[in-house]
Amino acid sequence: MQNSTSATQSVRSSLSNLLWSLVRFREAGISIFILILVFVVTLRAPSFLTTDNFNDILLNISILAIMALAQTMVIITHGIDLSVSSMIGLVAMMVAFVVKQNPEMPVIFAVLLGMALGSVLGSFNGLIITRGNVPPIIATLGTLSIYRGLVFFYSQGTWINSFELPKNFKMLSKGTPLGLPNMVIIAILVAIVVYYFLNHTRTGRDIYAVGTNPDAAPFAGIRKERIIFLVYLLSGLLAGLAAVLWVSRFESAQTNTAAGFELQTVAASVVGGVSISGGVGTVPGVLLGALLLGIIQNSLTLIRISPFWQLAAQGLLILIAVISDKWILSRVERTKK
């Protein structure tokens, strides 16, 4: 009797361990999915598997990767930042105007200016959420409109075009002094910094703690409000950086720059294994999530599928990711009992 119970238990626990490792190694799942996708698309369009095309994909997902990492830090605290696209739009417009008027200004100043402006916008989000006690989804939905409105207000509806921007600024994203485009290198650097920040600093650990159990965090002496404020500030800071790269890459600042981009950042995070209920998410997972989105966009174009389907495919992927998460989690719960 006793032996058979322990036997069933060990079978159950090994099953639950297997499911757990599936949850924990989400990266493995996405990697396999990416490889299958690459294989299938290459059969249909051989030009897919070329260095040029891959450089293209990397260039396309660099900004997405940066912002998905920012979004990830926010989502880990059980929040969401919907205003990222408008922050990018507003900072892009402001920086483009400054660069246009001071073409001689060193590029690094433009980058720092963008990050400073972004931090201000992000702090404003953080203040509304922590001081005003507004749920993040509502607060950032509000600033999504406010910041976009400010773009129109600031630019009076005008655009900044390519010929108005100095060449060295345009090369900021595309130059390849180190072999890869600068923008890709910047994204990799951001990923490394965020990785170390989340995994090897006290604040990073506090971010996970706040997201996993917001009620217990204060009992352990964690300043919850400060952590939450910080992630929105960081989201703004990275949005500022992304804005400068955006202007440099697309060589223009328009009133609708980056509109709708917030959904892509959420998509990349969620597909990359970040849990909307907080506390769960890894940097490698999110990078793979961004890569997967980039490959899907690129390949659908290559095999000549209408861009309208691209949006649908992206949406479908998010749903699959979330539903499979829920399913695996409920299975794990059940096997434990």
């Binding site: 090897h200 996970y208 009992f219 352990a220 002496g221």
Partner: protein, 288 residues
């Protein structure tokens, strides 16, 4: 069963309470509450007229080094609120707290931790632990700054400290990376205790330290409390279990509806006195 192995089968009428405990724990517990007599030291915590609007008022007591002060009362009498006020989770609105004779205004837990306080909350799932984090992270959480150099965590130091703490508390787990939620109630409570003991507190507040844990762990927790007190730690213990209050406390204070209604020494305290102090209001209410 004990520690994952079969021990004995006996018929329910042949087995006494002491036998059962002996079989479960693996040794005879001669005294369920192994309280040693400790000569109390200096006053380390002095609370005067502490009040938090809506929860409790006029709560005053002293806590000495090496002393276990029991706080009895009915659930909802405001005991947890007093503990939270002292620890700064829900700061007091009036009154004063003195630590080693110095007046302090504790407005946040991180301040309380710095002052040498530790608080083991009553609900370990909700407040005591982060169930989805591993044992190491849980133990190191309140003292992350100790394991960090300029904000960077020193993994080795952290791991070693967590390992030592868990080992000392005899936590039963596969390894220190196991999630806290996968452990039994007793082992979770041991994690919470190791977590707070690793902060080297001078004043330990225990809120229902043995609720929902097995007899063996219960005895271990009581032995630990006694040992800590004999080493000079000041312990404030909230408990709804009268035997625990009577068995472990050097002195007992009783709260009822946010007021202090009783204060007994170990010799004076009896079940009747404590119950009557804890329920006076109800008797008065029915008399009216």
């Amino acid at each position: 069963m004990r520690d994952g192995s079969y021990v004995d089968t006996c018929s329910i009428k042949d087995v006494s309470r002491d036998d059962l405990i002996r079989l479960m724990v693996g040794r005879t517990i001669t005294n369920l509450f192994p309280k040693q007599d400790v000569k109390a030291g200096d006053v380390i915590l002095k609370v005067e007229n502490l009040e938090r609007a809506g929860s409790f008022r006029n709560v005053s007591f002293e806590l000495r080094c090496g002393e276990i002060l029991g706080m009895a009362g009915l659930v909802g009498a405001g005991r947890t609120n007093v503990a939270r006020a002292i620890f700064g989770v829900e700061p007091a609105t009036a009154g004063s707290i003195q630590i080693e004779g110095r007046k302090v205004a504790i407005t946040s837990p991180q301040q309380a931790i710095k002052l040498g306080l530790a608080y083991v909350p009553e609900d370990r799932q909700l407040h005591g632990l982060i169930p989805a984090m591993n044992i190491t992270s849980n133990i190191s959480l309140p003292m992350l700054s100790k394991y960090a150099r300029r904000g960077w965590l020193q993994d080795k130091t952290e791991r070693k400290a967590a390992y030592d703490a868990a080992l000392q508390m005899e936590v039963r787990a596969n390894n220190i990376w196991q999630m806290a939620r996968e452990l039994s109630g007793g082992n979770q409570q041991k994690i919470v205790l190791s977590k707070w003991l690793s902060t080297n507190p001078r004043i330990l507040i225990l809120d229902e330290p043995t609720r929902g844990i097995d007899v063996g762990t219960k005895a271990a927790v009581h032995a630990l409390m006694s040992r800590l007190a004999s080493e000079g730690m000041a312990i404030l213990m909230i408990s709804s279990e009268l035997p625990e209050i009577l068995g472990m406390s050097d002195r007992v204070i009783v709260l009822r509806e946010g007021h202090m209604t009783g204060h007994f020494s170990r010799a004076e305290a009896t079940q009747e006195k404590i119950i009557s102090a804890a329920t006076q209001a109800v008797t008065l209410g029915s008399a009216q």
